[in-house]
């Protein structure tokens, strides 16, 4: 880091004469931006869940009026009975809100922003104003997407995957401007994501504190850094595809229209070329966070730190060459089915390495089951199921049968909910003191964890079974098919578990908001963790540190022999430690 930049950031830490609006609304402080993303994404998580509740109602009780359904307009649910076109809007918007506005924002928008400068020992991001722009464009994107449900004829309804020609033509879908609003929202979201990625990558490369070498970086930072690279390269493809779709919808272009020489399958290639790296964007930061939670809870170093870094890089790299596994039966050249099968099977390997290394971390540890650790271990248990179910899909002949069934729905929810969302809940509890200066209630945290764990498995595990039996996706009324009628009791069971799952989240939300004002005040390092974020007060002040810390060791020196406690922060200088040699470019 240059002398100029270092001085400027240090000056920032001393004088804080910003107005309320500059401090909390149009803030350039990465921590406030992270918290803004947190409030925005938690809102969309609840919206996405509410949509899912309606989907599950319709699947359990097809054609029956939904409780409170009479509050919905006639165009969505006359007499409280959901219409097929509204059901498809629910399915589409649930996927869209959850993937982009909940999980992506929770993992990247919140934690890349909040954690990176704190964990690498920087005052803020490399580009604080671009960071602010990234939040506000995500906010605008979310508003557009939300409003699309309320325009005449409703929102887009072609599934979150937006396959053409259905998504491109009003006469095929029945949607009107809502369809275009999806494309516009995604373009705005792409802008937000790309701006964010630029910041995260630059900050990690340039702004690490003295002594914070690459292989002393916490795994959460590695994961966020590599995720940012994935995002920088993949999201523009989505944005480009969304622009093409928007042109198709409003300008009458024919990229995807076979009557004029266009190709419907082109959309799928573009979408999934983004879409597969996207799912790794949705899991890698969670994996990084889980490493922090499990190492802390086990009071032990991460087992195989270097392998873990290479596994993250391996997953990210292989993630570029597997997209065709979403398209085995799409009509693309079957030879591609063979090649994509091989690459897809291989991507199981680095994920397996990570699971074994987390287990190795717990092995012979001194396991402390605080709420974040519960979530970290649950992640490993659930992600294993999600990852293993992926192997069935990788084998093309089997995928031919389970594609577009509930087996896929089970898989994706095991990795995104059982995986990412459990990691997110654990991360929120873990870093809450650093964000808000208070602790969340531990007892209610445990109750929330167990209820979520039980009802989540009750909701999603049976989907493997009905999927295997042939139950297709996105059906408004499965009872049209004789072979699906016997599965209705299972659909009902799943729905009841889903209602209880959603209801259980009330506990989390009450805990979250109540603790912010009434929670036990937090000490600087309430979890006895080694990361640099725990060397500054709770909540972390503007600028993070007056003097940036110097780093002497890696982030996982728990239970080190010779240390007086079972943890050893990265910046504590022991008599045997030598000061890092500073690079000449730093201007020292």
């Amino acid at each position: 880091m240059t002398t100029v930049a270092a001085t400027a950031q240090a000056a920032h830490a001393h004088h804080d004469d910003r107005s309320f609006i500059q401090k909390y609304i149009f803030s350039t402080d990465h921590k406030i931006i992270g918290i803004q993303f947190l409030f925005l994404s938690l809102f969309f998580l609840m919206v996405g869940g509410l949509l899912a509740m309606q989907i599950r109602w319709q699947l359990a009780y097809p054609g029956k009026p939904m409780p409170l359904g009479n509050l919905l307009p006639e165009t969505m649910a006359p007499g409280g009975v959901l219409l097929p076109e509204y059901y498809l809007q629910l399915v589409t918007m649930h996927g869209t809100f959850m993937v982009f506005f909940a999980i992506m924002l929770l993992l990247v928008g919140v934690y890349a922003n909040f954690l990176i400068p704190l964990k690498i020992g920087a005052h803020d991001m490399a580009f604080p104003r671009i960071n602010m722009a990234s939040f506000w464009s995500a906010f605008a994107s979310g508003i557009v997407m939300l409003m699309s449900l309320f325009v005449p004829e409703g929102s887009s309804r072609a599934g979150w995957t937006m396959y053409v020609p259905l998504s491109a033509r009003h006469d095929y879908s029945g949607a009107e401007f809502g369809q275009e609003m999806w494309s516009i929202s995604i373009i705005l979201f792409g802008l937000s994501s790309i701006l964010g990625s630029l910041n995260y990558i630059t900050t990690v490369i340039n702004n690490r504190a003295a002594g914070m070498t690459w292989f002393r970086m916490p795994l959460s930072v590695w994961a966020l850094f590599i995720t940012a690279i994935l995002g920088l390269l993949a999201v523009p493809v989505l944005a480009g595809a969304a622009i093409m779709l928007l042109f198709e919808q409003i300008l009458g272009t024919h990229f995807f229209d076979p009557a004029y020489g266009g190709q419907p399958i082109l959309w799928q290639h573009l979408f999934w070329f983004f879409g597969h790296p996207e799912v790794y964007i949705l899991i890698l930061p969670a994996m990084g966070m889980v490493s922090e939670l499990i190492a802390n809870g086990s009071r032990k170093p991460i087992f195989g730190y270097h392998s873990m870094v290479f596994a993250i890089a391996g997953i990210a790299f292989l993630g570029w060459i597997v997209w065709g596994h979403h398209m085995f039966v799409s009509g693309m050249n079957p030879t591609l089915g063979s090649t994509f099968m091989v690459s897809t099977l291989l991507i199981a390997v680095p994920s397996a390495i990570k699971v074994f290394n987390w287990m190795g971390t717990m092995w012979r540890g001194n396991l402390r089951f605080h709420v974040p650790m519960l979530h970290g271990v649950a992640f490993v248990a659930m992600f294993t199921i999600g990852g293993l179910s992926g192997i069935f899909m990788a084998a093309t002949p089997v995928d031919m049968f389970i594609h577009d069934t509930y087996f896929i729905v089970a898989h994706l929810h095991y990795v995104l909910f059982g995986g990412s969302l459990f990691a997110i809940f654990g991360g929120i509890v873990f870093w809450y003191p650093k964000m808000f200066g208070r602790m969340m209630n531990e007892t209610w945290g445990k109750i929330h964890f167990w209820l979520t764990f039980i009802f989540y498995n009750g909701t999603f595990f049976p989907m493997h079974i009905i999927g295997m039996a042939g139950h297709m996706r996105r059906l408004y009324d499965p009872t049209i098919y004789d072979f699906l009628k016997p599965m209705q009791p299972m659909n009902e069971f799943i729905s009841i578990c889903a209602f209880l799952l959603y209801g259980s989240q009330i506990i989390f939300f009450v805990n979250f908001w109540w603790s912010m004002f009434k929670g036990k005040k937090a000490s600087q390092n309430p979890w006895n963790d080694n990361g640099l974020e725990w060397t500054t007060p709770s909540p972390a002040p503007h600028g993070n540190w007056d003097t940036l810390p110097t780093v002497y060791r890696g982030p996982y020196e728990f239970s080190a022999p010779g240390a007086s406690e079972d943890y050893l922060p990265q910046n504590r200088k022991l008599p045997t430690d030598r000061d890092p040699v500073l690079s000449p470019a730093a201007g020292h």
Binding site: P301, F303, G304, G331, G365, N366, I391, A395, T396, M400
Partner: protein
């Protein structure tokens, strides 16, 4: 409530089911191992007063073992699966004597074209599609199509011989899916895709559209009847007579 894969109704089904079961065994062993391992660690290594964690950064030997075993397993699985994939979907996989049936998908109906006594399907063109009078766009100038039988939402196939579906779509992407046959193929506008199978058990099955195609997607259902060859010929004669088509 069906707790397993659907009944097997085609020559593909035993092979696919075998592969499914093999993967279930491999992943099942891994699943049990990981979950039991986690449970054991949770109990055996829980925090107790006076205990200390074992300080280690890992084991290169362990990394090699648990990288190599999954990698080798995955490679073997890939090689083992590919043969079946090529047999079902490969470019040259359709048997030469397969009986052709035209399958035309539109929002929200399936139109099946049977080749009639000449055994050949007539040419179709999207430009010739007329709502009630010519739902599949059969070209009147092609003599092969003069004896073709066009039927709505009913697929009839003879048992024990390869059938090749010529899949076309009129508007959006649909997907041809019969669970008992284990066959699934997306139907894409602008393409004619061949999907073959051989039914093994006479009976009645259901075909469901398996790619979201609009608000009537859930109702895009056809009934599939697998006949013995004699029953099939009888059905063909009966239906041709009803529709005023040539019976021989």
């Amino acid at each position: 409530m069906h707790w397993w894969l659907p009944p097997q109704g085609s020559t593909f089904a035993p092979d696919i089911d075998y592969m499914f079961t093999a993967i279930l065994v491999i992943t099942g062993i891994t699943f049990v191992g990981v979950e039991l391992g986690l449970l054991w660690f949770i109990f055996a290594y829980r925090e107790r007063p006076g205990r200390k964690a074992f300080y280690t950064h890992g084991s290169t030997k362990a990394e090699i073992i648990w990288t190599a075993i999954p990698a080798v397993t995955m490679v073997i699985m890939g090689i083992a699966s590919n043969g079946l994939w090529v047999k079902i979907k490969g470019r040259n996989s359709v048997p030469a004597n397969a009986y052709p049936i035209g399958v035309h998908a539109k929002q929200f109906e399936w139109w099946f074209t049977y080749p009639g006594p000449d055994g050949k399907l007539g040419r179709t063109s999207p430009a010739l599609v007329a709502k009630t009078t010519n739902p599949t766009g059969l070209d009147p100038d092609d003599p092969a199509g003069h004896d073709d039988l066009v039927v709505r939402n009913q697929m009839h196939v003879p048992v024990g011989r390869p059938v090749v579906a010529y899949l076309t779509a009129e508007d959006v992407i649909h997907s041809f899916y019969v669970p008992e046959f284990r066959v699934r193929q997306d139907v894409v506008p602008g393409m004619e895709i061949k999907s073959w199978f051989e039914a093994t058990v006479p009976g009645t099955y259901e075909l469901g559209c398996s790619q979201l195609c609009g608000l009537g997607h859930y109702k895009m259902r056809a009934v599939v009847t697998v006949h013995t060859q004699e029953d099939y010929d009888a059905w063909m004669q009966r239906t041709a007579k009803e529709k005023g088509e040539p019976t021989s």
